[in-house]
Symmetry: C2
Subunit: 229 residues, 2 copies
């Protein structure tokens, strides 16, 4: 408000990309190639560029560092982290985004990627560079909450999926077992959550399961609440 020059800060965009893979919740991490925290795992991210919007920057970094298409998967702003000493290079504020991806074969190593890989959230949480463990913790909590009130769970699945696949997403992200019968009724009775494709999938053993596709609904009304732990 006064006419003196105001503090200028570096602004990064960091991504917490979550997926369900091999039966556990995993996050995309990269191994840092430069100081600070060289050799440590961190969330993918990078500096904002001139003329670029925040979401735009998040999608770009995702593509550059991991080869994932930022436009194709769910991407939402999570929170902004700006503790004065969070980055030893100087004053850097980070806008964190939460991304949800299906179980993709392997993140393709992009031009800027040193060693992007999926890692179990349980394993890396607490071991990340900067304040990225805080960000990851907040991201997981946001994802858990989103499953209650939105149809976001389908973003963890591929184009087509069974009700059992969807239920496993809930069980793995929430870490609690869910009654298959009640779950099935719930998702099939919620208008626009999932749409039957008519096709079926043959498991290794057992009865074939009907395949579904994401429906148009965004909100889950009424919500699917996790019971108090």
């Amino acid at each position: 408000m006064t006419k003196r020059e105001h503090l200028q800060v570096g602004l990064t965009v960091d991504l917490a990309v979550l997926t369900v893979r091999e039966g556990i919740l995993q996050a995309l991490v990269i191994e840092r190639g430069n100081d600070p925290y060289r050799g440590r795992d961190a969330l993918p991210g990078g500096f904002l560029r001139a003329g670029e919007g925040l979401r735009e920057a998040a999608a770009r970094e995702l593509g550059e560092e991991t080869g994932l298409d930022g436009g194709a998967l769910h991407l939402e702003q999570l929170a902004t982290y700006g503790a004065p000493a969070r980055d030893p290079r100087g004053r850097v504020v980070s806008v964190a985004y939460l991304a949800i991806a299906p179980d993709l074969p392997i993140p393709a190593a992009g031009s800027d990627a040193r060693s992007a890989r999926w890692a179990p959230v349980e394993k890396v949480h607490g071991a990340l560079a900067f304040d990225h463990s805080d960000i990851l913790g907040d991201a997981v909590e946001r994802a858990r909450s989103r499953l209650e009130y939105t149809t976001l769970a389908t973003a963890f699945c591929g184009d087509v999926f069974t009700i059992g696949d969807l239920r496993k997403v809930y069980e793995i992200v929430w870490g609690t077992p869910i009654d298959p019968r009640n779950f099935s009724r719930k998702v099939t009775h919620t208008e626009g959550f999932i749409l039957p494709t008519g096709a079926r999938r043959l498991p290794e053993t057992g009865r074939p399961a009907a395949l579904y596709r994401r429906g148009p609904a965004q909100a889950l009304i009424p919500p699917l609440l996790r019971t108090a732990t």
Copy 2:
């Protein structure tokens, strides 16, 4: 990640301060004294200072511009706004905070305040400087949602309040009437939402109402959902 200088941006903290006053939802606005947008209403806010955390900056600005005690009222990070052209002065990213205040006498004009005042949300929404109308819209939606799942409604009330006061908060923020009987049972049966003080308040006319104080509960379980309009 490369060694070239990265883009530096100005970083502001803006506040959407909401209260219920004279039976309607109001927001704290200031009239801008400088260009750009001189003379237009805007949300209170200002630039981050060196060595200062984001929340700390929000509390400071709140005190400076309005005389409200940022430490005393509910303050939560809302979202971050960084569209490239949102500020004509240059690249400025804003971290927005949502604050909830009880119906205070009048915001005291602080040292930096030009003309802080309460204004009906309906009136100023769409007429604010920068992208502050977007921020205010998001803030109102966040507050509405918070009333469903948390005990935040008590932050709109003073130290002591009646169940009728609390119900009016819900009715005004949501814009829908609520059944007084069911509401009363709901809030008194939710453990830790409100605590009886034993005192009573005499209205202008009618039976005295019991007074309550905020309880320790943060979450509202089960939630108090607004029925689909």
